[in-house]
Amino acid sequence: MKKNLIEVKNLEKYFEITGGFLRRKKSTVKAVDNISFEIPFGESLGLVGQSGCGKTTTARALCLLDPKTGGEVNFYNKDLDKMESIDNLDDDELKQFRRNIQMIFQDPYEALNPRWTIKDIILEPLNIHNIGSISDRDEAVFEILKTVGLTPPENYLPRYPHELSGGQRQRVSIARALIMKPKFVVCDEPTSMLDVSIRISIMDLMLNLAKDLEVSYLYITHDLAVARYMCNRIAVMFNGKIVEIAETEELLKNPIHPYTKRLISSIPVPDPSYVRENYELNYDELDSIIAKDTDQKGMVDIGNQHYVATHDVKGLL
């Protein structure tokens, strides 16, 4: 049994809508509602679902970019050799935690400061955390550029983001995230803005780095084909809830939940002779079923560590 790096239990992120007289609370948006998962060391979990289902909100809550409103996030503490809740961290520990968790964003055109050189951008985390001497830092930047395939590094250091192509910029984002030697990287659709030809080389780079540096990813995407290539396990999200979570191949070969089936059937297949299943869903109905299911029982294990959120698994099998 592999050790878990991160464990998420009943995570909630509610947004309160206020308005009217005295800005009173009007309603609550349950952007992330009672979700649980864990990621072992060196494994990647794919978080897939439609736009607006809460994938990015989950990621932001994990990275403490937005405070969660409920639930627990436990992160492995190397010094104590046990899981520790991120709620109990003091300032120093929090800083330490942040070194171990990094993010790669979707849009490489917006994620890099246009007025900074590539060197400044990658150096910034080292400066903030005050790691090593100045010459050590320069050395580290040089090395990480080589690692992400921007060679020779001296050609890239003095350049500005606008001088680079989309693929090169995304490599800079990856370098910036990995220079802290994090254990956990949240990737928010890192390849969806890139051209097909560059996409695979970025995905391969990330897979190789995961192996070499023992990094775990939470990989957010709406494309199951990409998730299949990148992830060991996949969690399917719908309206703020996880409806199904399983090993990648198990999930694709044996989807149980109607929403997972719909998602799989919506991915075009690069084979003209393949006819996709036409799987239609009534989304309003689906939402109320899922709300009922997840509130009543939570996830049901159907074997092979395959979990489905439904009170009526037998009815679906």
């Binding site: 439609q50 097909v196 695979i200 080389s201 084909a225 998602l263 075009p268 003209p272």
Partner: protein, 324 residues
């Protein structure tokens, strides 16, 4: 014999820039028959959109068509005046632009914007007739008729894209160009829009030119396709043939770099390097710097370029047929 709707032959187009001429479309020829859907695939900057813009002659001011012919339903489009072209656009060929859902005028109601296009071509129609027409189009693309009185910001991305399709169909065109119509959309919405386009195509017997960088979408949507690289068509033929028996090294790499959710999980191949700059004349094979196993004559640029027929109806650039 199925009727030819559009015949493009030896089309050349370049952009005049300060640093020199960029030849974006080189010697492109293809034919689209009635009811057929023709796919154009290739990576960013390979000239797909430039071809579409040349067909409608909507290209930027610095773009010049240097030679070639575009025959739409028996009528030559090259050399027509702006006024004559206005009649052809939308009536003969219409286009669903890339990111078209952001092309709506934000301060005019959706219905009024479609009505404007119809009025331009059928000035004698009454307002009631036009409204009826739009209603029937909305029904086909799965929109409620109340959407007509909405402003663009009130609609979701998928709804706006459906309305764009309705707009493209509003003047009964013979051929519709769809330039990456689903690129900015979510997978499930993309799936719905693709089904909508297919349905509309069958219903009206439309010809379709479908432009995409996603080879999986091309596989589903088209029966003929062309692969473009650096402004040229490098392989053209029936979609099923190109997929089962790709004869150009670039087509093959595109196929091997596309992930799929069905079948066995395969190792994907990456396509390293970048497409060549089109500003200078490229000697010999433009793909050779990225080709996995180029021959010596490819590298030193002595290899002849040009399409040859590898099997009936299936053409590939002769330079790369050998090094595949």
């Amino acid at each position: 014999m199925v009727k030819e709707v559009l015949k493009v032959s030896n089309l050349n187009m370049y952009y005049e820039t300060i640093s020199g001429n960029v030849s974006a479309v080189k010697d492109i020829s293809f034919t689209v028959h009635e009811g057929e859907s023709f796919g154009l695939v290739g990576e960013s900057g390979c000239g797909k959109t430039s071809v579409a813009m040349s067909l409608l002659q909507l290209q930027a001011d610095n773009a010049k068509i240097s030679s070639g012919s575009i025959i739409l339903d028996g009528q030559e489009l090259i050399g027509l005046s702006e006024n004559e072209l206005r009649k052809v656009r939308w009536d003969g060929i219409s286009i669903v632009f890339q990111g078209a859902m952001n092309a709506w005028n934000p301060v005019v109601k959706i219905g009024e914007q479609i009505r404007e296009a119809i009025r331009e071509h059928y000035p004698n129609n009454s307002k009631a007739e036009n409204t009826e027409k739009i209603e029937s189009l909305f029904k086909i693309v799965g929109l409620d008729s109340s959407i007509m009185d909405r402003y663009p910001h009130e609609l979701s991305g998928g709804m706006k894209q459906r309305a764009v399709i309705a707009l493209a169909l509003s003047c009964d065109p013979k051929i519709v160009i769809a330039d990456e119509p689903t690129t900015a959309l979510d997978v499930v919405i993309q799936d719905q829009i693709l089904k909508e386009i297919k349905k509309v195509q069958e219903l009206f017997g439309l010809s379709l030119i479908y432009i995409s960088h996603d080879i999986a979408v091309i596989a589903e949507m088209t029966n003929q396709m062309a692969v473009m690289y650096a402004g040229r068509i490098v392989e053209i033929g029936p979609t099923s043939q190109l997929f089962s028996n790709p004869r150009h090294a670039y087509t093959r790499l595109l196929l091997e770099s596309t992930p799929s959710v069905v079948g066995e999980k395969k190792k994907l191949r990456s396509l390293d390097g970048e497409p060549p700059s089109l500003i200078n004349e490229i000697k010999g094979c433009s793909f050779s710097p990225r080709c996995p196993n180029p021959t010596d004559s490819c590298k030193n640029g002595t290899k002849e370029m040009g399409l040859i027929e590898v099997s009936p109806g299936h053409f590939a650039d002769q330079c790369c047929v050998e090094c595949i």
